[in-house]
């Protein structure tokens, strides 16, 4: 018998809000949380906007001992995980904990920890950094701390595939439950790269917008970075049903492909195969899909390639939107935060808009990108895309309950 996968909890902190209800409200209102960045040396950057989390009082949330171990990305992940587990009402008996795990995605890991440590030794001339620098900056820190916090003793690891990290992570969690390797998995992504070194490195690629993220709009001029985390409770369907959990949606299919082409230029063929693969895996007809959450970075090459790919998979494309226009591009946490837009479409019947849209782009003509204003619609099935640098693609297919 095929095992099915339910989502029974969701949690997130991002620039729009520090919880899921707040994020839904902001997405439905088309609110843009991109603004001036605030951190040390920001004045030395050419691009100074981003989707930064404000009012994150780390000292109030964590003890001094915890802060010594928790990078900002881990702090985000733990809060998102707390919310998700609370919503799911998950409890694990000792034997169940052995079959429960966590897979997280991140692109940069403890980027601010690295940046601060380099500053200390290279700029400030110090000769030592904090003794916990390594456990604080490692990519697997968020997965490890979530496992410790929630007593998850089964598979626990981190996936790092740049901007597709959390879609790959959630896909792994889905496959592990479906295959019987686990019964419960926390899955998602966390990212906190908004610091001087994090953005200085991106500057050189010249793909960032100085004034806003406008995916699929003729006047788009690049991506805008964001930060935050989203974590979901994935649970074997019958287990969730048996304990009376509220099921937010079904994860129905997943596919990952590689362009095997260029390190930064996307190839529509890889995106086509990822979307088609997710549909096939879910036994879902294209006509069932009522919403696609686009990768939609707002760069010319992504938008052109993704629009082309969607038109190749869907004879009549469903509404497509990119919420990066509102919370920014969360890199390794992008797919996780964007899954909230999918859950909102499936569960609440509200399709989040593509904000910042000003003018029809001939390159994406024919796509309904839900410009600027959210839309009420019954959505029975949805896809969510992540197409990373390196040509690494991951697409999830979900169904309404």
């Amino acid at each position: 018998m095929t095992r099915r996968v339910a989502i029974t909890g969701a949690g997130s902190v991002n620039a729009l809000a520090l919880d899921v209800p707040g994020t839904y409200a902001a997405l439905a209102a088309g609110r843009v949380a991109i603004g001036p960045l605030e951190f040390e040396d920001v004045e030395r950057l050419s691009v100074r906007i981003g989707g930064q989390i404000r009012d994150w009082d780390a000292e109030a949330r964590h003890s001094r001992q915890e802060l010594a171990l928790y990078d900002r990305a881990v702090q985000f992940a733990l809060e998102a995980g707390r919310q998700a587990v609370a919503q799911s009402g998950l409890t694990l008996a000792p034997d169940e904990a052995l079959r429960a795990g966590v897979v997280m995605g991140t692109g940069g890991g403890g980027y601010t920890t690295i940046d601060d440590s380099y500053r200390a030794v290279h700029v400030e001339g110090k000769n030592r950094v904090h003794p916990f620098t390594i456990p604080r900056l490692m990519h697997a820190a968020a997965a490890a701390h979530l496992a410790m916090r929630h007593g998850l003793k089964g598979p626990a690891f981190t996936v790092s595939t740049a901007c597709a990290s959390s879609n790959h992570a959630m896909g792994q969690a889905f496959q592990m439950i479906r295959s019987g390797a686990a019964d419960v998995m926390l899955a998602g992504g966390a990212e906190a790269t908004l610091c001087f070194g994090g953005l200085k490195a991106w500057e050189g690629l010249r793909v960032m917008s100085p004034d806003g993220c406008r995916p699929f709009s003729a006047d788009r001029n690049g991506m805008v970075q964001g930060e935050g985390a989203a974590v979901f409770v994935f649970e074997e369907w019958e287990r969730a049903r048996a304990r009376g959990a509220t099921i937010l949606a079904e994860v129905a299919g997943f596919a990952m492909t590689s362009d095997a082409g260029d390190i930064v230029m996307p190839d529509p063929d890889g995106a086509v195969r990822a979307m088609q693969g997710a549909l096939d895996d879910a036994a879902m007809a294209p006509a069932e899909v009522g919403y696609i959450n686009a990768h939609g970075t707002g760069t010319a090459v992504n938008d052109r390639s993704e629009a082309q790919a969607i038109r190749r998979v869907f004879a009549t494309p469903p509404p497509v939107s990119s919420t990066k226009s509102m919370h920014g591009h969360l890199l390794g946490a992008a797919g996780a935060v964007e899954l909230l837009a999918v859950l909102m479409a499936l569960g609440e019947g509200v399709i989040a808009p593509t904000a910042g849209w000003n003018a029809e782009d001939p390159e994406v003509l024919g796509l309904d990108v839900v410009p600027n204003v959210a839309r009420r619609a019954r959505v029975d099935a949805a896809l969510t895309n992540a197409f990373a640098f390196g040509g690494l693609n991951a697409c999830l297919a979900l169904r309404r309950v």
């Binding site: 010249r206 793909v207 006047d219 788009r220 010319a300």
Partner: protein
């Protein structure tokens, strides 16, 4: 055009062409003003490296965004890049 400016321009163009030639894996003498970067096999990553090298060599900021639909300066040819760098350096000095 006064002599010193020509001299500045000549030396500057030679240095820019050396940067472009190195990226294209060619001899500088094989490059002409009319050649497009595309014809030299320079892609978007190559362009990012060229701009990095120019900024380092001349201590200028080249305002170039790969996504900008209304690019202000033509950076698609060898001559276009030489002229743009010359304009940036002159503006900087003056």
């Amino acid at each position: 055009m006064d002599g010193s400016f020509v001299a500045l321009g000549d030396g500057l163009h030679r240095r820019v062409i050396a940067i472009l030639a190195a990226q294209a894996l060619r001899e500088p003498s094989g490059l002409t003003r009319e050649m497009s970067l595309e014809s030299l096999g320079i892609d978007s990553l190559g362009m990012a490296e060229i701009l990095f090298a120019i900024e380092e060599a001349f201590d200028v900021q080249v305002p170039f965004n790969a996504n900008d639909p209304g690019a202000t300066r033509d950076l698609s040819t060898v001559g276009g890049i030489c002229d743009a760098v010359e304009a940036l350096v002159s503006a900087d000095r003056g």
